[in-house]
Symmetry: C3
Subunit: 352 residues, 3 copies
Amino acid sequence: MNKASAGHFFEDFSLGQVLSHATARTITEADNSIYIALTGSRYSLYCNHEFAEQLGYKKPPIDNILLFQIAFGKTVNDISLNAVANLGYAEVEFIEPVFVGDTITVVSEVIGLKENSNGKTGIVYVHSKAMNQQGYLVLSWKRWVMVNKRQEGMQNTFAVQPQLSSSVSFESLPTPQSLTLSGYDNRLSGESFRLNDYDKGEWIDHIDGLTIDDSEHTMATKLYQNNAKVHFNHHQMASSTHKQRLVYGGHIISICRSISHNGLANAQWVAAINAGSHLNPSFAGDTIYAATQVVKTADLGAGFGAMRLRTLGYKNNSWKALRPQFEKAVSEKSKLHDDFVLDIDYTVLIPV
Amino acid sequence: MNKASAGHFFEDFSLGQVLSHATARTITEADNSIYIALTGSRYSLYCNHEFAEQLGYKKPPIDNILLFQIAFGKTVNDISLNAVANLGYAEVEFIEPVFVGDTITVVSEVIGLKENSNGKTGIVYVHSKAMNQQGYLVLSWKRWVMVNKRQEGMQNTFAVQPQLSSSVSFESLPTPQSLTLSGYDNRLSGESFRLNDYDKGEWIDHIDGLTIDDSEHTMATKLYQNNAKVHFNHHQMASSTHKQRLVYGGHIISICRSISHNGLANAQWVAAINAGSHLNPSFAGDTIYAATQVVKTADLGAGFGAMRLRTLGYKNNSWKALRPQFEKAVSEKSKLHDDFVLDIDYTVLIPV
Amino acid sequence: MNKASAGHFFEDFSLGQVLSHATARTITEADNSIYIALTGSRYSLYCNHEFAEQLGYKKPPIDNILLFQIAFGKTVNDISLNAVANLGYAEVEFIEPVFVGDTITVVSEVIGLKENSNGKTGIVYVHSKAMNQQGYLVLSWKRWVMVNKRQEGMQNTFAVQPQLSSSVSFESLPTPQSLTLSGYDNRLSGESFRLNDYDKGEWIDHIDGLTIDDSEHTMATKLYQNNAKVHFNHHQMASSTHKQRLVYGGHIISICRSISHNGLANAQWVAAINAGSHLNPSFAGDTIYAATQVVKTADLGAGFGAMRLRTLGYKNNSWKALRPQFEKAVSEKSKLHDDFVLDIDYTVLIPV
């Protein structure tokens, strides 16, 4: 038998199964710098030592989205090596800050299973938890993914779909240890907008576009040690429907977060991702843009504000052209335009 | 009003205006390694700990050109987001060495303004200063840039053009703290040529060519958190005159400096850039070459030699073919060949 | 005379000549992270601090293949700048672990010279040694390379070909300082296979393919400060037989080692490369795959197992299609299929 693993198929998962993901990763200062080189991120908390000190940290924490990418990468070999599509995320909670030198270990539990009627695929729901080297839970998330079956045919197993919250409530929002926003100086961050400057329902067109190239998206995905085949193997993907490699969806999240610095520069801390889905694939050569709607705001006290945001990532188009189509689709409950690539609902902390 | 900024236009600048640039950046060891991966730089002072010790430092300082890129990057959001062209640099002085862990904050003052007669653009002259986290001035430079107007039309404002030195004189050249060249061992640096081996007027053909690719030049520019649109947005640039993204001019300076190691391996320290201009744009796929003329040399004492150099960067051509055209153009005071991309006049320290 | 060096030609080498390579390099944590981003390597010893501690180290050592790339890079300027082809490696021994902060200096001795009958080229054999900053030998290797002559014509010098071992015997295998495999926990590494699970003659199809892009392979080669022209200069290579830049052969070794994690995840330590050759060139756009045969296994005691492996790297093809052709070629002693790019024979340490 070949010792190399072809990855798990739908038949390999069972309800309640616990997968202890291997190849835990120690996060380095370099991961942060490479992340900046790959995404252009400019949030001050992650690249300015003195700014991080003013916010209560001895040194800059790791950007939560970078942490998510690395933790997510650990789960791919066991869960999504044979994934057809990453269907969605929910209840992503950033519980403790992570720093350079911390080692991240990830464990996942299968919390739902559902065969698809085509007999070829099924949906696997997992709850993944990332711990640091001291065993503290730093990140928790749920995702569901469409996985190929090893053999075609229906097993007619009992379908279990987990109950997923549509959001992490502001009340139960994890407030990161040590973080203080009371002395926040927005001259350092690049914008003056604080919690009370944002209105419910307000849209921000983040303006800037970022074009993705092959080396860049594959380097990002390799940095996260995410080994899903669809991102790396042009020889194989050339004969797929897409005729080329797919950009890792997580990279699109990172790019949208980076672009949204323009208009959200003080939203330093992503506290939770309430829901997220990849609406369409992206390819090398695509230019990614983003627009954000303010869904809800709240003053949490002690200088902390929380904002629930909905960021739409789209490609090769303008918000001016897409917004009317988006609003029509929402009111008609019809499908969004094919240029939309990401729809993500998340909660940030921002100074009051 | 959209909270994302479209950047400043010519009308937004006023003489004497001071811009405190946000998103100060702590420089990491990784920035240096990524810089090597992006440029192939081989100057020993920046990548050999023991060599740096022999030259008086506890650890390698940050390459001054990398420092310039990071400091320059800070100014883009406020000054050149809507730049049509970076017209030139002058009086770039590297005053103190910068090390891993230092945080760089940049402030610029508007020192000149001049409308162009087309009514569409104007020239903004700025004096930028980079300070470390202790407030010490580490780098000072002047540049002028052509910026779009928000609205077409002449304001007929008073034009102020600053007096710029054509060079930083050898007498007032900043000698970096701690640097000592008396025990310099050129077996470690790769070449035996010291100050007295170079003749005034001598040309060096640096021979090696380096081809630029999309991911590489955009990663460099993102590493510097330089967010000028022309380098990143293919979707928008596809409908520009150039039909594609432009390579950040600073990356061309870095590449030329890296290439010129072959023939100038002991010119470890760039002390000043007297003048610099980008003659033509570069694009992904271009192969960059460089040739350098020794303009002036001087023994500064204590083992320090200074050389004023003029490096010409050119693309997809040979020095053999371009040199006669260059000399003809100089004698006729006519335009240089379109394959020239960079003309930079700078001063280096080299052991005697 | 132009101060830039065109590199050494065959005529510049003499038997017994010692070349002290310049631009020694201090290895950083970032080099390791960039290496992961460029190759997708997932071996736990190099990216998991706690795992490295369990194996006897205070911190993760540098991946031996990365060490080899950096040390090899130092030799290029003096030996292979004008190389037509890297013909082979032998007796590559990884003697001591190297850590972040160590500075690597490399010295080579010419141990063989042989003119080719075409009068245009000759073969240079060198023995290279890499030392850390304390002077300890950390890596030793022999390689031979076909180098251009400055002037065409036969010199009819005495040909000296060194005696090269076909393998580093298990008995004389360097066992790295501090390494202990007795408490090895394979739940952390991703696979359960230990020494005794592998059979002599067994093949592993590593399944995963990795596509190479231009920025990525040139960044890897620049990170190693390897300045061989064929990898970087599209302008020049466009008029070569290949019509494009060649991927640095060492990068193919790194990619094959990274891919072979799937099936060899516990082969944490490469102790020696017995023989290696690049069978065909690779170019941007090629997808690299690998298959490995177990040549020999041995229990060295104290929990250490040794395996001699032969890894074949190939491109844009499947092992299913290539294996019959490979076996036919071996039995007929004929040339391997053109899709094979690497044939490397090496010895790893693996827990018993």
